[in-house]
Symmetry: C2
Subunit: 372 residues, 2 copies
């Protein structure tokens, strides 16, 4: 019976997927013949569909409804059937322009990347802030008086990472005082990592190259705390956007998908939880960070059951050996993979370019034209 995946079956599989992605309705044999002007009869197509089903690429919800791709079907499509597309140049231009307008602000890049991914793919987007390959390394500190008993500490780390923190002063201090303390600490702890700083502090007093005042000791504590929370946060933080875009997919509109409507809402809640907590994605991120190119995870392929109905398209971005993050889109398995993939590829290369510029490394990515 099953004579393997003949050319024609592949072509039909491709059509089924295209059609299903477009319409979100199970596709019937006759629809295919009519819409794509196939030169065979519906019966022939039915035979092929049955074969594809036996091979595991399609399913039946129930006896008499059209075919729907399985995860394996999508997988085959992505691997073998899909032509590699790039985002239209006009869209690339528009996106580049938007990034140009927020040049200089990393936070804005992240936010913009999320918004653009969501808008162009009509799905939710995920962006993790770029994380340094190496642990955070202190560079210098500035103290700026806000008023008598309060100052603002600006903590600068290697790689242009800056954190600010207000500190309460035990007593009034002059600007000059603050500047001196900041300078002393900047000198004292320059280029140290968190563990280095802790080590330095742990040394017995007589081995300390510098006698710290109580005030300065307090500052160091604040610095340590800031570095800790930063490392914790950057490890986990996932920005997401485009919930609304994803929710406009028919999967979430009970009137369109002939189904319980109960389940549509349940699905929605699950989607929310995934996006908010990043649960189900936790294991994916490091995996993507360790691999090149665009990664496509279809349904529950790689992670827990809760992701069964969703696909994720992710790519790493960043600068080799320096800093890297992950960005991508998440949506129902019925996803326009070519578009998602080309968008993710483009945005990740764009973000890489921007970061490379920041890090003064010439870009290595083919699609990366200079930013304006």
């Amino acid at each position: 019976m099953s004579a393997g995946l003949t050319e024609r079956r592949q072509a039909i599989l491709k059509l089924v997927i295209q059609e299903f992605v477009e319409t979100a309705c199970p596709v019937a044999s006759e629809t295919l013949v009519r819409k794509y002007r196939l030169n065979v009869s519906p019966a022939t197509v039915r035979n092929e569909l049955a074969a594809l089903e036996e091979l595991g690429y399609l399913t039946h919800l129930h006896t008499s409804a059209g075919r729907v791709p399985t995860d394996a079907g999508y997988r085959f499509f992505v691997e073998n059937l899909m032509e590699r597309t790039t985002l239209p140049l006009a869209e690339q231009r528009t996106i580049r322009h938007q990034f140009y307008q927020v040049r200089g602000e990393l936070d804005q890049w992240i936010q913009l990347a999320g918004a653009v991914l969501a808008r162009t793919t009509q799905n939710a987007s995920l962006v993790t802030p770029p994380r340094a390959a190496e642990p955070l390394r202190f560079r210098s500190m500035e103290l700026i008086a806000i008023h008598d008993t309060m100052a603002l500490a600006v903590l600068v780390f290697h790689g242009g990472i800056v954190k600010q923190q207000t500190v309460t002063l035990d007593a009034a201090r002059s600007s000059e005082d603050l500047r001196r303390s900041a300078a002393r600490l900047s000198d004292y702890l320059a280029d140290q990592t968190l563990s280095g700083i802790e080590e330095t502090l742990a040394r017995p007093a007589e081995q300390q190259p510098l006698a710290l005042t109580d005030f300065e000791r307090g500052l160091v504590e604040m610095l340590v705390r800031a570095m800790q929370t930063f490392e914790e946060q950057s490890r986990e933080q996932i920005h997401s956007d485009g919930l609304i875009e994803m929710l406009s997919q028919p999967e979430f509109i009970p009137s369109l998908v002939r189904e319980d409507a109960e389940r549509a809402v349940e699905r929605l809640r699950r989607a929310l939880e995934i996006l908010k907590s990043g649960r189900g994605l936790g294991t994916l991120i490091p995996q993507v960070l360790a691999s090149d190119g665009v990664q496509v995870i279809i349904g529950g392929e790689n992670s827990a059951d809760e992701m069964r109905e969703y696909s994720v398209v992710l790519a790493r971005y960043g600068v080799e050996n320096a800093i890297a993050g992950v960005l991508g889109v998440i949506g129902p398995t019925r996803m326009a993979y070519p578009r998602s993939i080309s968008t993710v590829r483009y945005i990740s290369s764009l973000m890489s370019d921007l970061l490379a510029e920041l890090y003064n490394v010439e870009s290595r990515i083919p699609e990366g034209e200079a930013l304006e």
Copy 2:
């Protein structure tokens, strides 16, 4: 027939609202009698319910279903029937402790306030960053070299507001160079507002007290751009959180609310749009900024039709004559108003305390115990 709002009717109205808020089901006369051990018969209650309906405080979905409060009913409850409660001390303590742990970071306060509001009220929360009453006033600038052709500008404004921005250098510059330029500009433009800076720059060259290099001129442009975008953003930005909490309300669970299920999803989409875009809230924020105490907007009372099914509980927070923002919760009109109001009141006073501390003003708010 309608002998006005007698004592007993008020009591019954109160019970109806309590019951409906708790169960989300239309409340029947017999239920009231049984559950609250009223010493009258269901028939009597029915008469009173009918009167309350005629007075506009209750409605009927259809002939034979229990009563449901109208907006006017909630309004009367909030104004006259509700006892003014405060958040339990244990909860206050927990919340204070959480704020203590992120002391020194304004961004974190905002985020935490949103999370706490959402969690304790089981609704979505809204927080706008505190905005200075006066326009942004420049204080000083630091330039920190990142590498040869890139530096990080740290812009400090009055009130402890800090922005960072990377700048590309036209040519390599020494640290000393950068420091001098930053110092010159800090001196030159200190204490100026955006319009002041623009005015200063507009003066003819011979009146300029200081001849700026091209590089410095570029920095000023960057500063102006940063100040502009900051003012724009802070005018509009609304942080929201707690979507998941709100979505766990029965209104959004089609199986619980006997209703189209279609509408539950539509309602949900609307909620999302309100939260994301702040549409329907736009007019509310300035209104709340201009008034004291907790403001309750029930249903479409004050704004457009899209808010008809939602209530908002908002309060201003901040420091008199210096800085102010708005925070609160949004949820279905069937809301536990006493709890929402007391939570919003507490969080706003807490945030006010924190800001007052930052601004070195002694706190004026009664509930505001010292932070730890």
